[in-house]
Amino acid sequence: MIADNGMSRRTMLVKLGFLLNGIVGVFLAVPIVRYLLSPVIRERKTGFESWLSLGGLEQFPAGQTRLATYHNPVVNAWDGQTGDVACWVRNVDDQNFQVFAINCAHLGCPVRWFPQSNLFMCPCHGGAYYQDGSRASGPPERGLFQYAYKIANGALLIKAGEMPTPGQPVAETAGTRTTCA
């Protein structure tokens, strides 16, 4: 049976079938895409960062730069050691602190502190930074990433939770001194 427009009943049914599958496909694609994008949609809403203690102030003597570690606020049971993150704490004068991310601002390798020459050096591509985190030499385009910090109950707290990268430096508030007694 051929209709006026030349389309038989069966071709129409085939097309109807394709249409139906297309609609079902879209219905399925929405949750699938949302599932795939969950690291950027769901979790980002609330933000990754929260205030974390690096320990008592007595661990960070004035005028020195010390390595500190914290446990990432968002972890799963199977993250193992990867949930532990290191950072460099510089006690400028007991009033002012600087907390630097361990990641080189070039490509994220772990920078090391040399107290004798007051330099941070990166083992990967030779980036170097002064004690205040500013760029000294090498390929980095900027200084070390800094965490926002505050002091509460004699402990040093930083706002952390996301790996700093050149496109996403830690908090925009980094560098500001939020000091609560």
Partner: protein, 492 residues
Amino acid sequence: MRLIQKVGEWFELRLQLGTPIRDTAEHPVPRETASWFYVFGSAALTVFMLQIVTGILLALIYVPSAGEAWNSLQTLNHGISLGWFIRALHGWGSNFMVAIVLIHMMQVFLFGAYKFPRELTWIVGVLLLLVTLGMAFTGQVLRFDQDAYWGLGIGASIASRVPVIGPWVVNLMLGGPIIAGATLSRFFALHVFVVPGLLIAFVGVHLLMVLKLGINEWPMPGRIVRRATYLQEYHELTHKDGVPFVPNAVWKDILFSAFILLAIAACAVYFGPFGPSGQPDPTIIQTAPRPDFFFLWLYALLSFLPPSSETPILLIGPAIALLVLVALPFVAGEGEKSWKRRPIAVLSVLLIAVALGTFTRLAQHAPWSPVMDAWSSQPIPSEYLQGRTALQRRGALVFQAKQCHNCHSLDDKGGQRGPALDSVALRMTQDQLVRQVIQGGGNMPAYGKNLSPAETTALVAFLDTLHPANQAPARDASRAVALGTGETATRP
């Protein structure tokens, strides 16, 4: 024998594969293509099969969990009978596969095989190169050690530089805000399901086209490819002067594949498996991450690019390279096939090979990285200290204590980030040395705030002794004039 024949017939009646298989095996190929130059494609396929088998074997033990992966690799290396050998086969298989794919690509390019009508075969081949490299990178991540951890950090840092969506790309790549369990799980899914799936699909299409269009004939100088006449010419070549693929050509493929498998096994036995290096613990920062062999050139490139152009080159460079490779068969789809009449093609291959080889070699030494422990592990050669004054020796101590040695070498020991200082006194006067130390510059940090005036004086006094015994150190002539001393002052 009767029984075997009967079973064979039973299957043949149902599968009906006998004729197509026989036709495929005995299809005629140009006589000269039964050559040792035409064995790399089949060798790549053979190594891929080895990778599938050894990969499945490893998956029997490996735990794709950030907390357990490293331990399961230790178990594979030490706890499971011959687990180390399977790991070594898979690791060396990976290196061989990348190498063979690159050689295959080079041969195909030099033999003009990408020209009409094999443009799509070439493009799928480019995709195969990409997924092979994708397998190599994701596989390196599954060897979840320090190199893998910080390598992911490098990947994330590069991805974050994408304008506007960079941070989202990083979160998507890592599966969260940091490198953690979710990161390893998604790279496991990529390495075991997604990329191999693509690889198998592309290999299928690639092979199908090789069979449908026929293997590229041996390029003869002067035999020009023209779209209008090529198919007819190729048909005549294969049907008048051709030989059946099996057995005339295939025996070389089989022998070479066996040789490659043997070479992989030999490397696996002799050199053993790759790593794992230290535990993927981000709080262990005494580490110098290095990528695997086939990404070393990139590691070198990243240290040489000027900071301002690094991001655009990193983001646009790969796109341009891909575009060039894909556009090649459309731009040069006709014409001369023989490398003897294509000097630009030969030079391009040489240039790329020399560049990649040089960068790889450099990355094995990484002269751009400070030697982190040179200041405490590499003493100043004693001949640089003999007969020196107390001030100069004090300067030598400053040189060590302030980690100058990490970036500057003396007697070929120490870092190579900065220039060697064995004869620095010939190049710079005392004043210039003082200025360089205090203000830095030319990729050297300024030490003005980190050195007391006494330390600077001592350091420069030491540096001023660094010149060959028979050559006088550089002097500022005007200084002698100003002080009214020295020979220059008395010169007419």
